[in-house]
Amino acid sequence: MAQLYVVQSADFTFLLHQTEMTPGNLSAHLSKLEEAGYVEVTKEFIERKPHTALALTKKGRAAFKEYRKKVKQFVEKLPE
């Protein structure tokens, strides 16, 4: 989600390189995020080849912002 948060959209290959996950693993993660309504998956054909475009939904972006805020608060509360 952090990868998609900083861009407008990205495809499966890009996320595969960025996350260094296996295709099956990444696919499973994306399916769960799609089910939760956090990620929008668009399947299309470019020059007869299948292409999967992924983008964070408004709900996903808001959820990630909230998550980030909470992690920040948690880290700041840690003793030196």
């Binding site: 407008q8 959209s9 990205a10 890009f14 996320l15 595969l16």
Partner: protein, 194 residues
């Protein structure tokens, strides 16, 4: 990950600089108004090839990402800023020419031409390097200012330096492209290798 790690930008920029240098050496640059035509040639021929190369080489390897408009806006602002600064300098020069100071200005520019071009290249490379997040543009800018300063003080012909710079940038681009293709093989190739 950056879309410019494939070295294509360097190859085409190097090719353009090389063409510029060779144009001066062969004395065709001014004769046929090549200096004016060059940007048009770049847009008409090199740009479509560059886009196609991106689609065929880069995107199948690292995928496609849409960064949104923020980066593009920053780049446009730097480009417009550079153009405005260039036009401003031209305006000041024209004003001085009308006031009869052209001889002084021209002498100064001709005498220090290589230093001016070197410094200008360094500023442009630094600006674009910062905007695009490409650290190697700083190195290119530094290299340009150093070799042009050496050329100025040692009296080396401007075109030779430009040609050498073009070759350096182009060779760097090819080296980067080879490294990129090896680092990110196509899925089919990877499967065969495994």
């Amino acid at each position: 990950m950056s879309y410019h790690q494939d070295g294509l930008l360097d190859i085409f920029a190097g090719l353009y600089i090389l063409g510029f240098g060779l144009g001066i050496i062969m004395d065709v640059l001014w004769e046929f108004g090549f200096g004016v035509i060059m940007p048009a040639i770049l847009i008409a021929t090199v740009l479509p090839i560059w886009i196609e190369a991106k689609r065929k080489i880069t995107m199948p390897r690292i995928g496609f990402v849409n960064f949104g408009t923020r980066g593009a806006n920053k780049l446009t602002a730097v480009f417009i800023g550079t153009m405005v600064a260039g036009l401003g300098a031209f305006f000041v020069f024209t004003l001085a020419t009308f006031q009869g100071e052209s001889r002084q200005w021209l002498d100064l520019i001709v005498q220090n031409g290589m230093l001016i071009v070197g410094f200008g290249t360094f500023v442009i490379c630094t600006l674009f390097g910062y905007t695009m997040g490409l650290k190697r543009l700083y190195a290119y800018g530094l290299l340009a200012v150093i070799v042009l300063a050496i050329g100025h003080f040692m009296g080396i012909f401007f075109a030779y330096i430009i040609t050498a710079l073009g070759i350096t940038v182009m060779v760097t681009g090819f080296a980067m492209l080879i490294g990129f293709v090896r680092k990110y093989p196509l899925k089919g190739e990877k499967a065969i290798a495994e």
